[in-house]
């Protein structure tokens, strides 16, 4: 993708294609709704956002929408060269050094005003920490959450699978552990997204598709 604009030391590059942006925002809204309805289901003694039955029905419908949405993401990347953004760094030492540098930036350099060690480009939009996290999230945690949710949606229909995985409590415990992970994620993710060159830069980029990056990073 060619740069489309230049502004001082920054230039605009197209890093978030339309299918990814649609998937991202549907997923974001859906996950917030799933977390709220999930909290209502689990803590009906503490919250009164809606009735338990409405929470069940909403949770189920949104779950199916997000499962379909997941396939938008999966099919887009499977049939696009953009899948390179998810390619793992095959050198463990290089990955480890990159991750350490990124951690050092978030835990120290960012306070001093050091530049972000990761330079975004079309095929390298994730820093080493993001790269590792999003591989685990998108290929393990999200599918696990959808799969356990599907089993819990109709326990009689999926009785054999539920029994195979050790029983309804085991399946539910995995579902709840993933839920707890996503509660943490949904709180931390927007904050990290606000650490661009301006607080709203990454948010705008996920709407327009264009990210402002340093000229020399392209």
């Amino acid at each position: 993708m060619m740069p489309v604009d230049e502004n001082g030391g920054l230039q605009r590059i197209y890093v978030h294609p339309l299918p990814v942006r649609i998937w991202h925002w549907v997923n974001a809204l859906g996950f917030v709704a799933l977390i709220l309805t999930g909290l209502q289901l689990r803590y009906v003694d503490l919250f009164g956002l809606m009735s338990f039955r409405n929470a069940v029905n909403l949770h189920n419908w949104i779950g199916f929408v997000l499962i379909a949405n997941f396939f938008i993401w999966l099919l887009f990347y499977l049939f696009s060269d953009k899948i390179k953004v998810y390619h793992p760094e095959l050198s463990p030492m290089k990955h480890f050094r990159g991750s350490l540098r990124q951690l050092q930036y978030y835990g120290y350099g960012i306070f001093r005003g050091d530049p972000n060690p990761h330079h975004v480009s079309v095929y390298h939009k994730f820093n080493p920490l993001q790269s590792m996290m999003y591989q685990v999230i998108m290929l393990l945690v999200v599918p696990l959450q959808f799969f356990t949710g599907l089993l819990l949606w109709n326990l009689k229909y999926f009785a054999r699978a539920v029994e195979f995985f050790g029983g309804v409590r085991v399946v539910d415990t995995v579902h709840v552990l993933c839920f707890i992970f996503f509660v943490g994620f949904i709180l931390i993710h927007p904050y990290l997204a606000s650490l661009g060159h301006t607080p709203s830069a990454h948010f705008k980029a996920m709407i327009t598709g264009y990210e402002d990056v340093d000229k020399e990073s392209e």
Binding site: G113, L177, V183
Partner: protein, 399 residues
């Protein structure tokens, strides 16, 4: 099935009991000769399910194939009694005369009986049930079934319609209720999420007898054979093991339950598990079924942490006669961290939630809010330092 009614000091019941005893003696004498003739046919000494001589004598005639009576209503009343089923029923011990004390052996079968219709006969026979099951009958009288009966509804159920007649045995409420309410599953499926599962793990009366007290019964299940574990006659091992596991005698706690299961499954190729059901604390209250408009529909009656059914927990095995053998357990076992291991097949959203996972969620919430706030605070504290570095860098660049 309770025996509580038999202990109640009701003159009516005492009279009935005296009649029953007298008739048993008379019947026994009157048919003793027949019994001798039948001895080679009806095998004696079949131990626990052997019928008394008097009952065997009754069956001398009442086991004849096709024995029946035509009623004025045009219906046919079968007089053939399934002897084998009766011998296995819980009513074997009271014998034929226990319910048929109105039969005078001196005049039977010649004495005319005024049986106009099957319905009239069923209603009349229900009076015999009250003699022992007065408490269940009292609950029934307050039920929707009884109300429809009083209104003259032609198929409003009486005792036999749900419990059968000569093959009375403990059955699950579901098996009993769907006999008439065969459309129930489809109807529930229209509004109740996971309806087939609810029908499996929630006793019908748990929602349809809203005034009754509920509990969680954790029943031993054989996953390999796909059936409830039934204890053998004469070897009440389950209660012994449960009592031994419950060292402090205050009901099984999470560790004791785990130990009990380990003991039960010692050496077993395929371990037995516990499957939970929402049931009534006393089966008698299951007779007080309300109109469906009054049935519990609010999910949080069970799916709320600390809700009423989850306050009482028992661990049980199906006894030799089909009735559960129960041992009390502490309610905390349902949300224990050990439950993943000891109760993998019982979970109700909200009602049995794990305290460990609750704590993990709170920690995550604190971290999810605290980390950004902490990070922002440190960034704010360093703002002048950063500004100074930028000015210094700008100055150097200009130089």
């Amino acid at each position: 099935m309770t025996r509580k009614g038999a202990n109640m000091a009701s003159p009516r019941i005492e009279d009935a009991a005296r009649h029953a005893k007298a008739h048993r003696v008379l019947l026994a004498g009157a048919v003793a000769g027949i019994s001798l003739l039948l001895a080679p046919v009806v095998a004696a000494g079949a131990a626990d399910d052997a019928l008394s001589e008097a009952d065997t004598a009754c069956l001398g005639c009442h086991s004849i194939d096709g024995m029946q009576k035509e009623l004025p209503s045009g219906e046919v009343l079968s007089l053939q009694i399934p002897g084998g089923a009766f011998a296995k029923s819980v009513h074997r011990v009271i014998g034929c005369a226990g319910c048929h004390s109105d039969i005078d052996p001196g005049t039977h079968p010649a004495a005319p009986r005024d049986i106009q219709s099957l319905r009239q006969y069923a209603v009349e026979r229900a009076e015999a049930c009250q003699l022992c099951h007065a408490d269940a009958f009292e609950q029934y009288q307050a039920s929707h079934h009884a109300a429809r009966m009083r209104e003259g509804h032609p198929i409003a159920p009486v005792c036999m319609d749900c419990h059968g007649s000569h093959s009375v045995n403990p059955r699950t409420a579901y098996e009993t209720c769907v006999g008439c309410h065969s459309a129930a599953l489809g109807m529930h499926g229209k509004w109740l999420p996971n309806a087939p599962l609810h029908h499996e793990v929630v006793s019908c009366a748990a929602c349809h007898a809203p005034a009754a007290a509920r509990m969680i019964d954790l029943r031993l299940y054989d996953s390999a054979a796909k059936k409830w574990v039934t204890e053998q006659e004469g070897s009440p091992i389950f209660e012994q093991l449960a009592r031994a596991a419950d060292a402090d005698g205050n009901g099984l706690d999470a560790t004791e339950l785990r130990n009990l299961l380990a003991e039960i499954n010692r050496g077993a190729a395929t371990p037995m598990t516990l499957r939970g059901r929402v049931e009534l604390r006393t089966a008698v209250e299951a007779h007080r079924l309300a109109d469906k408009a009054q049935a519990i529909r609010a999910c949080d009656n069970c799916h709320r942490y600390g809700s009423e059914p989850f306050q009482n927990v028992t661990v049980s095995v199906t006894g030799p006669d089909g009735r559960p053998v129960r041992y009390p357990a502490q309610k905390e076992i349902l949300g224990s961290a050990f439950a993943v291991q000891s109760l993998p097949e019982f979970y109700a959203i909200g009602g049995t939630r794990s305290r460990v996972l609750d704590a993990l969620l709170v920690l995550t919430l604190l971290g999810g809010v605290g980390v950004p706030i902490g990070h922002m605070t440190v960034k704010w504290l360093f703002r002048r330092y950063r500004a100074g570095r930028v000015r210094s860098k700008g100055g150097n660049d200009a130089g």
